[in-house]
């Protein structure tokens, strides 16, 4: 069991009440002032490193025994800045700062540096399962080191170049912003309901996600139930495109439980709808269905935002989240995300709603 005690998040909204839509298909993070990061250190940082540190800083005061980061894109923007130098100066005399910052473990190492944290320090780069890999590692650590506490985070920035690549590969509906509502050809071909089904926050239905996003969400985890906000009781990760394997994984993770809420990673791409329908088909009629990617956009570690959201759901669930309202205030939540068809993550979460929240 992984007990979540504190959470922190930097994401593309000022709050959960009236979400802003994407601009030019992008949902950019609302960044804080980063007062806690020394100017000397801040000046070198890429956005992903700033966000990763900005989200984790409030939790570092609890002196975690280790730092675990998941990032899909890593330091892509800084890599390209360094690459531009290589080309501009024909491999001549180059400045090293962007190279050092471009390393995927820059976030984890900076966090260790800022607070002289000498504990376990690791970075996973596994696309849509990067954050989940870190969670799995934390699940092992709590068993191996009872009583210790771990900081786990998922971080990704919108890299302009990466976004361009992903548009070229057809992962985004280029130039369409949320709420336009016209079903694309793909939706009709898939035999899905036309737009209008896409009410709360789904955006235009067609091929490709509605918006690209970014963010950083951090969690303090241990094996102590007392005072916890929530616990993750099961983590199931799948690769491939086997529908029966997904059904089997869903049955296995639920093990007869009917969750109060399915938190779904639907992102407006009709090609992934069949996976979410499989998850929905195994829910009882009282299970609510909520979606979140209109808040954070699509990116490899969006599941970290979803976990933060699940831990910080307001008592009255905003309508824009809900595809179907739950029968009761959600306590047991099943999270399912599908990243680019072949990476599936399932988390079973139980919220303990009686405790005070760190809502950052």
């Amino acid at each position: 069991m992984l007990y979540i005690h504190h959470t922190s998040c930097i994401y593309p909204q000022k709050g959960l009440d009236s979400p802003a839509g994407p601009v030019n298909n992008l949902l950019k993070a609302v960044e804080p002032a980063y007062d806690g990061i020394p100017g000397n250190v801040l000046r070198r940082m890429s956005k992903s490193v700033k966000m990763g540190i900005g989200a984790a800083l409030p939790l570092l005061k609890y002196a975690p025994d280790g730092i675990l980061i998941g990032t899909g894109y890593g330091g892509m923007e800084d890599s390209i800045r360094f690459l531009n130098q290589i080309e501009k100066y024909d491999e001549g005399v180059l400045t090293p700062a962007t190279f050092v910052q471009s390393t995927a473990n820059a976030i984890a190492s900076q966090l260790g540096l800022i607070h002289h944290n000498r504990g376990y320090n690791i970075t996973f780069v596994n696309r849509g399962l990067s954050f989940e890999s870190a969670l799995l590692d934390a699940a092992m650590l709590v068993k191996e080191h009872p009583g210790k506490t771990w900081l786990v985070s998922g971080v990704d920035e919108i890299s302009d170049h990466h976004y361009r690549f992903e548009c070229a590969e057809g992962w985004y509906k280029n130039g369409i912003s949320a709420g336009e509502g016209d079903a694309g050809e793909g939706a009709a071909a898939a035999g899905e309901e036309a737009a209008g089904e896409g009410t709360a926050g789904e955006g235009a239905v067609g091929e490709g996600a509605a918006a690209a996003g970014e963010g950083a969400a951090a969690f303090l985890l241990n094996d102590q139930p007392a005072g916890a906000l929530a616990r993750i009781s099961k983590i199931v990760l799948l690769g491939g495109q086997d529908e029966e394997a997904l059904r089997s994984a869903l049955r296995s993770i639920l093990d007869g439980l009917s969750p109060d809420l399915l938190l779904s990673g639907e992102n407006g791409d009709n090609r992934t709808l069949k996976w979410y329908r499989i998850a929905e088909s195994l829910m009882g009629p009282d299970t609510g269905i909520a979606r979140f990617k209109h808040l954070c956009g699509e990116y490899p570690t969006a599941s970290a935002f979803a976990l933060w959201l699940a831990c910080n759901l307001p008592a009255a669930l905003p309508g824009h989240l809900l595809k179907r309202p739950p029968a009761v205030t959600p306590r047991h939540i099943l999270f399912y995300n599908n990243y680019k068809f072949t990476q599936h993550s399932l988390l079973l979460l139980e919220r303990f709603p009686c405790h005070a929240r760190d809502n950052k």
Partner: protein
């Protein structure tokens, strides 16, 4: 928790494309570092590298891969991975078992396609076959997909300690009952991007590197891949076992983004932690495969930390004078060399060593020698202060 055994090995480096070739080079004191790297960089032929002489096209032909998006890093990984699984008798159906994990590591990933990446960022990239190859995950996702693996799988990037971390993570998957078998390791290829990155930090040596030598002048970059097949007690029963992974620890130096603390706080913590998990005293270690990059900073810090921990040092060597620094693959390559030392009960000689570093005064093994080897410590320390130490032990 289950014990963890090594039942299969695959490796490729500048000194050989098989386990036997690598061992022969180490025993003969024959380095693979030279000036003949053929890569699209102005430093090819200018700086020494631990290059593998097979071209990327030759690899593609060998594996009958026509997809240009399968990068050199992935091809090196495929070679070593294929050898490892064959060595352990794992093929086809057994790889698809959900209890078989894949934990890989790379720092370069698809960035070996440096020129292609630049083109794709500056020109329309609609028909580029490389777009999904650039990231770190591409290498091991390719292996996972090619072999239809369904068990836990991930990629780690902690710079130079990456594949050592992959090894400890895979072992812990087994010990925590999340897998019965874990194929663990890493791959990195020589890339214009990384060559220039290290050059900008002024830590590349213009001559073959001299680990732990007073006059060391920096590292040589290398390329390679290595994988271990780790199995728990139950599945390893009846199989040939190379060695047991008895100790591991990751710790953070927390001093500087690209340098270790002078006294090697992180290395000390990692080595001490590995001994603790192995239940061993420092005196039990018979041989240390050091990180030993031959940078001014690393060797002094690592040497300092070793002295503080061991007092009297066991024999030690850095094999980076044979292979160059293979970055994301280094932890796994050097784990293999640690295991070879155990299997053959021998110590490998340091190359290019003449005088010790004055502040630490330590001397590596100077000549090949048969030696009783029960426990070997292997160190890997990465940018950002990421320090991992592994201990392999003889099962005989």
């Amino acid at each position: 928790m289950s014990r963890v055994f090594v039942t299969g090995i695959g490796i490729i480096s500048a000194v050989g494309s098989t386990l036997a070739e690598n061992r022969a080079a180490l025993a003969a004191g024959k380095s693979g570092i030279g000036f003949t790297a053929t890569l699209p960089s102005r430093y090819a032929g200018v700086l020494p590298f631990g290059a593998i002489q097979t071209t990327t096209d030759e690899w593609r032909e060998r594996f009958r891969i026509s997809d240009p998006g399968v990068t050199r890093t992935t091809l090196l990984a495929l070679h070593a991975f294929s050898d490892a699984i064959a060595d352990a008798g794992l093929t086809g159906t057994s790889l698809r078992d959900p209890a078989v994990a894949l934990v890989g590591a790379t720092t370069v990933g698809g960035m070996c396609l440096t020129d292609e990446l630049y083109r794709d960022t500056t020109q329309p990239c609609d028909h580029s076959p490389f777009l999904s190859s650039y990231d770190g995950a591409s290498v091991h996702l390719y292996l996972q997909t090619r072999h239809k693996m369904t068990g836990p799988a991930t990629t780690i990037n902690t710079a130079c300690s990456s594949s050592a971390n992959a090894i400890q993570y895979g072992a812990r998957l087994i010990r925590n009952g999340l897998a019965t078998t874990a194929i663990v390791g890493g791959a990195d290829s020589l890339a214009k991007f990384t060559i220039n990155g290290f050059h900008s930090l002024q830590i590349l040596s213009a001559a073959p590197c001299r680990p732990f030598d007073r006059d060391r002048a920096g590292l040589n970059l290398g390329e390679g891949a290595a994988y271990l097949v780790l199995e728990g007690e139950e599945t390893a029963a009846g199989k040939t076992i190379y060695a047991e992974l008895t100790g591991y620890c990751n710790a953070n130096d927390a001093f500087h983004p690209s340098a270790l603390s002078v006294t090697g706080i992180g290395p000390h913590l990692a080595m001490q932690g590995a001994l603790r998990t192995a239940g061993l005293e420092p005196a039990a270690i018979d041989f240390i495969n050091t990180h030993g990059t031959a940078t001014e900073n690393n060797d002094e810090a690592e040497g300092s930390a070793m002295l503080r921990l061991f007092g009297e040092l066991p024999p030690f060597v850095s094999t980076k004078s044979y292979t160059g620094h293979t970055l994301g693959a280094a932890g796994a390559v050097e784990a293999v060399y640690s295991i070879l030392s155990i299997c053959h009960q021998e110590l490998y000689p340091a190359l290019n060593f003449a005088e010790p570093i004055p502040t630490v005064g330590i001397r590596p093994v100077r000549a090949y020698q048969p030696h009783a080897v029960r426990h070997v410590l292997s160190n890997s320390f990465g940018f950002g202060g990421n320090c991992t130490s592994l201990i392999f032990s003889n099962v005989n």
